[in-house]
Point group: C2
Chain length 196, copies 2
């Protein structure tokens, strides 16, 4: 049993290293990426979409050349357990999702996926066993055409120095950078210093 | 010369594998993550913020346990070249950014970072050489306190089956999933089929 080019146990070991925990969603995600890769439309270069920010982006980053930082992976955070791989210039792609209708014979996966039982009442060992045996039989897939506006790479445009903080920022954002207008997740608590 | 626990050339090889290209921003990002790790406040577990979606998230994912999919890495896409590592429960952290004032002695880095010259007029070899020699001398850093609302893990809440597409979705989104209300980056072009 393989997930992309990796043996199943090798994939699990990489999940542990990259993701920190053996998350059930990331193991299923491995089968989903594998299923998508086996059903790609013609093309040489493929970008990816994840419809959730949880787990699935890591399966894509581990098994394909697409990452968040190279922008070949985009996240549309709908809370849906689905991925799309698509030809990056034309947008023809394959979308793969977990199909609830296919979970009837896998009670532990259904419990976990539909959150039917609280986490402490779920049987992790049984869940992982069902995931391994089910493989990609629990996914549905269909062809998609990614909309034109999502195929274009958004350019950041010219940079300038923010007159408030002195750091570089995209001039399209206005007279100062967004954090200096209050859109900021932290408060500064110490004075500036430099690196080595 | 090391970047976190990796030799410089080993880091470059991993950049090539994970990111697909030897992006200058990701090499500088390695020095930034390394500088942050050497200046952490007390604590055992650290989450990360990137203030751009380009390059820097990959440096964090390659060098720390934080990834997009495990949600220990958050992206606030301000287009600013800055990262923060912070103690995940209390929020005390260190923010590291490229300081334009420190780029005066590195003309190629300044050209690239401030986009002063078109890409085809930049000297890549000279740029990579300057990046290696500059190391973390081009970064500034300061202590920060991440705001309380960003320390809490957002729960997705109960799931249901969308009556339109039949897939699972977070019930907090209403009577149907968001894609079925038109918030969708693709159009379906083929009928459903299952995995192996």
């Amino acid at each position: 049993m393989k997930i992309a080019s990796l043996d199943y146990d090798e994939y699990l070991a990489r999940v542990q290293t990259f993701h920190g925990t053996l998350a059930p969603g990331l193991i299923i995600g491995g089968f989903m990426v594998d299923a998508a890769m086996k059903n790609l439309p013609p093309g040489d270069f493929f970008d990816a979409i994840s419809e959730t920010a949880i787990c699935l982006p890591d399966a894509i980053q581990m098994l394909t050349p697409c990452s968040i930082g190279n922008r070949w992976l985009k996240i549309f955070d709908y809370g849906k357990f689905a991925i799309t791989l698509y030809e990056k210039y034309g947008g023809q792609g394959i979308r793969v999702y977990v199909d609830p209708a296919r979970l009837e014979q896998w009670p532990e996966i259904k419990n976990w996926f539909m959150k039917l039982a609280p986490k402490n009442e779920q049987d992790t060992e049984k869940l992982l066993d069902e995931i391994k045996r089910a493989g990609s039989s629990i996914v549905g897939m269909h062809s998609v055409q990614v909309k034109h506006e999502h195929l274009k790479k958004k350019k950041m445009g010219p940079s300038g120095i923010c007159p408030v903080c002195g750091e570089a920022y995209p001039l399209r954002d206005g007279d100062t950078c967004r954090p200096c207008r209050g859109d900021i997740p932290y408060e500064s608590t110490g004075s500036n210093s430099g690196g080595a």
